[in-house]
């Protein structure tokens, strides 16, 4: 019995259990802090639909041995470009949403290819390099958002002039287009965003299928044992580039889904720290620097977003202090540090 418990703990990993117990504790406290339990659950589900695809995008790069994608900004930028070009063209509803995705994919392929070339030059240090490339590209795009010739009055500064606003609303274009698709009203405070969840499931299924194709298997084997891959005639550099492109594409789709649910497109410094919560989520889900699966994503996003959703209201209401945000940052970065120390040990 004791052994079994020990095994379960080992399989589930200690940090995951701590986070899980903490979330459980928060949920139990919800009614006592004057909040509705069902609205908290609703929050968690909505956030899952919002962030799931972004976190899913980390898988291909982990599998090919490129590590965690600290340069998630390189897929967010194509996503942003897709979103604003679609709005500029005045496309609405599903057409607008899928046009945004289509345009984003176009930019993501270019961005992913260049990113992949770069990562192949810095094998072994991908994560450090990616972090700084991500930061740099955000700053570079800060200039571009001002210079790009967008005209739509919904996006430029209201008092005229050139340049895009830091926050652009997509209401009236494709706001909640997925969220409202086939949505299920369980109560006043609990609505299941079926469309979001279906969309995540579809992408997850495609990704699962991809890793069962010949190409996908080759990519995964490159990540497991590069020497073995070479002896099978696999071109390692190409496999890594393809995995980075796939990651970038899913990430670009991910940010559009995020905006669709959130209602706003955040430019300028908005994407700066977006990679950390995504990475923390997949790590809480049980992924490591060289192993990740779809179940890691689902568990991780539920736990991480669960805390993000429940902690602010519960803790603030109970303590009357705003410690929720520091708490979230501690969990986010603590999780990343924990995962990185484990890499060092296993090497």
């Amino acid at each position: 019995m004791k052994l079994e418990i020990k095994k379960i703990i080992e399989n589930f990993s200690l940090p995951r259990i701590i986070v899980f117990l903490f979330l459980l504790f928060l949920l139990i406290l919800t009614p006592f802090s004057g909040l509705r339990f069902d609205s908290t659950i609703n929050d968690i589900i909505v956030r899952f639909g919002m962030n799931g695809v972004l976190v899913l995008s980390l898988i291909p790069m982990v599998k090919s041995g490129c590590g965690l994608n600290f340069g998630l900004q390189l897929s967010i930028i194509p996503g942003l470009l897709g979103a604003i070009i679609s709005i500029e063209m005045g496309l609405r509803n599903f057409i607008g949403f899928f046009a945004a995705i289509g345009i984003a994919i176009f930019f993501a392929v270019i961005s992913g290819y260049l990113y992949g070339l770069l990562l192949n030059k810095v094998k072994g240090n991908e994560m450090v390099v990616a972090t700084y490339v991500g930061f740099s590209i955000v700053s570079f795009m800060c200039i571009m958002w001002l210079l790009l010739p967008f005209k739509s009055t919904d996006m430029i500064w209201p008092y005229g002039g050139t340049g895009l606003r830091p926050t652009i609303s997509n209401k009236g274009y494709w706001f909640n287009i997925l969220t409202d698709f086939l949505k299920i009203n369980i109560g006043e405070y609990l609505v299941i965003p079926t469309g979001n969840i279906l969309f995540f499931a579809l992408l997850a299924l495609l990704l699962w299928g991809f890793f069962r194709t010949k190409l996908g298997t080759s990519i995964a084997i490159t990540g497991i044992n590069a020497d073995y891959a070479r002896s099978c005639g696999i071109n390692i550099d190409n496999m890594r580039i393809i995995s980075v492109i796939v990651s970038t594409i899913i990430g670009a789709i991910g940010i559009i889904v995020y905006q669709e649910s959130f209602g706003f497109i955040q430019l300028y410094l908005g994407p700066l720290y977006m990679s950390f919560p995504a990475i923390a989520a997949i790590l809480i889900g049980g992924a490591t620097v060289d192993k990740a699966s779809i179940s890691n994503v689902i568990i991780g996003v539920l736990l991480f977003q669960g805390i993000s959703a429940a902690a602010p209201s519960v803790v603030n209401n109970l303590l009357k202090h705003d410690i929720a945000e520091p708490l979230r940052i501690v969990i986010t970065n603590g999780m990343i540090v924990y995962a990185l120390t484990r890499v060092v040990r296993s090497r």
Partner: protein, 539 residues
């Protein structure tokens, strides 16, 4: 005791086993002052283990110590660490350089033995911060270099000088100790050119005249004959013979080293096969594989043949297969089935029907944490597009067909007698011999026309060895697969091969039929020319 007078070093009945595997049996070795003793033997004959015992290497102690007695300078010793050995007066020059690249020659020679100068600060903080007397240091280094008769600027940093001079620096460091009485040199000339080596040899003779004894390990027989007073041949962990160079010949040394004719019924009953069609033609192949460089080899392999490649470690035998398979950069003209074969392209090699079983079973050969069936089938899926099926009924997207993979794997598991619980077991959980069979299955499933097998029996037990070799022969006969087998064990090559090429210093020293005498193979391994007539007769 039977301790004899007048010896500097006496080794009495030294035995050693690693986890029940006896590697040294009752070795007796005596070295007189000023004597140069040459130590020869195949890889794994026990030379390094013996030297590790002499030097007090921690490896020996950690694995249970040794039996027997070491008497040095009249006293029984049992060195606890290499430092004790150094203090007692035993110097060692390793095959790999143990020098600090950015330090000067002087600094390297005098490292940790620097002459000190008194300064006032030492009064307060102790001798650890005494100043170094650089002039004296330089003087001592120049003296040591003078003994070696080499022109070398003592102020130049190590990373700027050629390998030969690095070796002189190592030797200078050892002879610089005032009390060094015995010098052990482990293949000091392996990385040197002939002219460089001859300077080392000359220096050794001078040292011997000064009364310093030398134990000299080398695979170059000329050097051994040139410099040694006595040759000790080791084989399978025992002293095979002590010889005096002036009263013996290279072929006699080779014979003792390799052993007498192997009495093997199979190889005797096996006739020489008549094979005509040439499947692989290699011309002037160069492969840049670290520690196994191939420097211009040419040979032909016939269809249906088992072609053996042998030689001592580091002589380039492993480089050939790795080079042709495109795993290490290579150059040269290769023809496969009469057509030009492009090197440095693994995918191309596999597509043409060439398979490879790597010597690095656990590193390159297998995905240890994946299932047995994926290990067997992946290369075939990658190269030949087998084991795929449409995804969700869409015909242009093909995904892995695990079910077929598992079924086919079962067949191979049975055919090769791979001992595993099931085909979904992880490769890591299998024993060494079964992992090797897994590697073979992975190659066989490609139905190759030509197969490279490197070190197929390394690290597996005797019974498994036999099975692996039997499997190779069976496939060769059944399917006519041409096999190029690389092995360190001559006996094994003689059991399965039709012809055997021996590599020495990156070049082919000779190609002999399996029926040739072991002694001749031994000579080839040591880089000796055997009579041209005997080579002609093979053709």
């Amino acid at each position: 005791m039977n301790s004899k007078e007048g010896y500097l070093l006496e080794l009495h009945n030294i035995s050693k086993d690693f986890y029940g595997n006896r590697v040294l049996h009752n070795i007796n070795l005596f070295v007189k002052p000023g004597e140069i003793v040459g130590l020869v033997g195949e890889n794994g004959a026990g030379k390094s283990t013996l030297m590790n015992i002499l030097f007090g290497s921690p490896i020996i102690r950690d694995t249970g110590g040794f039996e027997g007695k070491v008497i040095f300078n009249g006293k029984e010793v049992n060195f606890f660490s290499p430092f004790d050995a150094l203090n007692a007066g035993i110097g060692m020059v390793h095959q790999e350089f143990l020098l600090i690249p950015r330090f000067t020659v002087t600094e390297n020679v005098m490292l940790n033995r620097e002459p000190m100068k008194y300064s006032v600060i030492s009064e307060i903080f102790g001798t650890k911060i005494n100043l170094i007397n650089r002039n004296q240091m330089k003087q001592k280094t120049i003296e040591a270099l003078k003994i070696l008769e080499v022109e070398l600027d003592p102020e130049i940093t190590i990373n700027k000088i050629p390998v030969g001079y690095k070796q002189y620096t190592e030797i200078a460091r050892e002879i610089n100790r005032e009390y060094t009485k015995l010098l052990v040199l482990d293949e000091p000339t392996a990385v040197l050119t002939e002219s460089e080596a001859s300077i080392v040899i000359k220096a050794l003779k001078k040292l011997a005249k000064k009364g310093i004894s030398v134990i000299f390990i080398s695979h170059r027989l000329e050097e051994i004959f040139d410099v040694c007073d006595k040759i000790v041949v080791l084989r399978n962990g025992a002293v095979q013979k002590e010889l005096i160079p002036s009263r013996t010949s290279a072929s006699e040394v080779a014979e003792y080293m390799i052993g007498y004719e192997i009495k093997n019924n199979e190889s005797e009953s096996r006739g020489i096969r008549k094979l005509n069609e040439i499947i692989l033609e290699v011309n002037d192949l160069w492969v840049n594989m670290p520690a196994e460089q191939v420097k211009g080899v040419s040979f032909e392999v016939k269809r249906g043949e088992i072609f053996g490649i042998g030689g001592l470690a580091g002589q380039g035998k492993l480089g050939i297969a790795n080079g042709i398979m495109g795993l290490f950069p290579s150059e040269g003209k290769v023809k496969f089935k009469g057509k030009t074969f492009y090197l440095n392209n693994t995918q191309n090699a596999l597509k043409l029907g060439i398979a490879f079983v790597s010597e690095d079973r656990r590193g390159i050969g297998l995905l240890l944490d994946e299932t047995v069936f994926l290990n067997i089938c992946f290369t075939a899926m990658k190269v030949k597009n087998e084991f795929t099926k449409p995804f969700l009924g869409i015909s242009w997207i093909n995904i892995r067909d695990d079910k077929t993979m598992r079924e086919i794997s079962k067949e191979y598991i049975e055919a090769l007698h791979i001992n595993c619980v099931s085909e979904i077991q992880k490769a890591r959980e299998l024993s060494g011999g079964n992992q090797q069979k897994l590697c073979l299955a992975k190659a066989f499933i490609l139905k190759p026309e030509l197969m490279f097998v490197s070190e197929p029996t390394r690290g597996i037990d005797v019974g498994a060895k036999r099975l692996v070799l039997d499997v190779l022969r069976r496939f060769n006969i059944q399917y006519g697969t041409t096999i190029i087998i690389t092995s360190s064990e001559l006996e094994e090559l003689k059991m399965v091969s039709d012809r055997i090429a021996i590599l020495s210093e990156g070049k082919i020293a000779g190609i002999l039929p399996f029926t040739a005498k072991s002694r001749d193979f031994g000579l080839l391994m040591l880089g000796q020319n055997i009579q041209k007539e005997s080579i002609k007769s093979i053709k």
